[in-house]
Symmetry: C2
Subunit: 395 residues, 2 copies
Amino acid sequence: MKISERGQKVPPSPIRKLVPFAEMAKDKGVTVHHLNIGQPDVATPQQFFDAVATFPDKVVAYGHSLGFATLRKAMAAYYQRLGYDVQVDHLTITTGGSEAILFAMMAICDAGDEILCFEPFYTNYNGYAVQACVTLAPVRCMVEDGYHLPPRAQIEAKIGPRTKAILVCSPNNPTGTVLRRDEMQMLVDIARERDLFIISDEAYREFVYGEVPHTSIMQFPEISDRTVLMDSLSKRYSLCGARVGCVIAHNPDLRRTFLHLGQARLCSPSLEQHGSIPLMSLGDDYFKGVQAEYKRRRDTVMKGLAEIPNVQCRTPEGAFYVMARVPVKDAGRFAQWLLTNFRLDQETVMVAPGDGFYATPGLGMDEIRIAYVLEVDRLERAMRCLKQGLEQYKD
Amino acid sequence: MKISERGQKVPPSPIRKLVPFAEMAKDKGVTVHHLNIGQPDVATPQQFFDAVATFPDKVVAYGHSLGFATLRKAMAAYYQRLGYDVQVDHLTITTGGSEAILFAMMAICDAGDEILCFEPFYTNYNGYAVQACVTLAPVRCMVEDGYHLPPRAQIEAKIGPRTKAILVCSPNNPTGTVLRRDEMQMLVDIARERDLFIISDEAYREFVYGEVPHTSIMQFPEISDRTVLMDSLSKRYSLCGARVGCVIAHNPDLRRTFLHLGQARLCSPSLEQHGSIPLMSLGDDYFKGVQAEYKRRRDTVMKGLAEIPNVQCRTPEGAFYVMARVPVKDAGRFAQWLLTNFRLDQETVMVAPGDGFYATPGLGMDEIRIAYVLEVDRLERAMRCLKQGLEQYKD
């Protein structure tokens, strides 16, 4: 029985495909430092568990397709504190930021349409593009530029008659780059002049370390009819498994479509929505503590990378990722070798090969993504493993 | 800014679109008996809440994309107790039965492909078909036949070169019909001879009332490479808001695709998966209690319908729905009128108009779906409202 071409094309996760080799190493008693996946080790705020424990109903019933009214209200207040014009009606709660991607692509694109994006990019955009029968048109960003945007002409060269939107992610996964206001302004200008939507993935909003402040697409109200903000509680509140995110749009046609897409899947998970409500009022203190911890981690990783010969990277301004060019021909083989062959005091390190973050075949083969989601002392050990691994590895 | 045609085509929920009129009635102090939505009032088993309370981790982390290993094992054991060949590897946990529909359609169909289904059908198949760019080819079932399958020739007439699968739901939403073994056998024969997949939605498996036993697609191991079983915990354990379901396939290509689709959305909600584990070992006693209660409710509704002149329906053998032909021209207008104009002792009833369960325009206009998800005395009052409403209503 032949399955669909679409089914065959949905890519496996490049971040997860080395997991079996990590399992084998662990089975042999090896400690694997996981720098491969953006899973923070920071504890989920206790307020979440406390709220879940007070779930008031005897029946875990269908909720509203747009999300719990209480949570939507609390979320809108969070955005308003940031100074954004986000009213409750603009906001649809999604089952994780993942569903936000699906909703945005479905609402904006028909089969065969294109979305301009910047590579390297968050790998799951690929999976959703295949599902939605959308083509990603990637504009390349370079490690030498710290993965900031290339000149406008290079971006506009990728816009064709089927291009419907620009997809941007800042602070960026996988590069950690935070776009400057003038870069966002350039995208806004292009979108207006070329009649495109902007889909802005801001899941890492709170993870910025002082060099470049975060610029949200909500800070450009003059194009509010053509913007979709995608967000997620996963990283902000160390809540990855809860699957709570949202899409925000002012455009009434988009909002109506999000409602209908939401109705098709009925509702997002109830307990996690209920648990998330008090998190929306966590103040600056919470984020400042998290930021300080991640800045220490970032600086630890950058120090470690600086000590390895022939590694190219720039200090990323946000998120908790660094993308680096390393002196190997095939980072996927290198990452696998680290798990299967390399040991330093019975430890090794797991990184994500770079090619999975590109749409263009052949790119990223000599890059790796490091997620600095471990405590500083573990990160130091992990970076020692990476350094020695690169010294010992033969292509 | 123009959104996609797909976005415009995703239909609103016909079950939920009358909600604002119900809200207005409630605001005026009217009691609305909700027969419009399949939301059981049965309490979620306490074991679920107890398990959630013992969630062992400090971090609500990403789970495995296929679902929690513990839950998959417990689910496989549940199916094995039913006598089905379901091993852990056959089973992918989905975010509700809703996501199971999406995964099945995506894995089997490319844009432009067709799925044969039987109308009236579960309305959200429509929404997912639009999302997946799939066309539903409906074969009509008739109230006079109790919505059982038409002769084989009528089914085969709908199979074209782009038909990839037969989608069947038994016990059925919205009709309550349970297909006999010979009907399932006919679909199996057609699938084999015409080289089609069978997608079998069995979310209501445990809701059968003695007339026709449930036949699962898993009881036809001779075509196990071309079947997908879609399931949900929502109805079985009164767990609609938890969003836990699954897809089961033996075909390795399908299973690999489900894994990749699962990786794109990372994981299903953690707390609800954890909470669901003990439910999988609830035994016959639990289901017998639930069945007895729903049988009483069904019989209450059927007795009520029998007392209304010019209503056509057959006693459904399962699920908790009845589809009935009523003497009105436009059941949507009638349903709205019940909410806005009709009152019996400050009470009224909300039903789902039938046309939303059809793909063929014009069908179902004189049908309604009743979900018997209320206690018997409330159902009796609801049926009195329906009877008097039909007597008073003028088209």
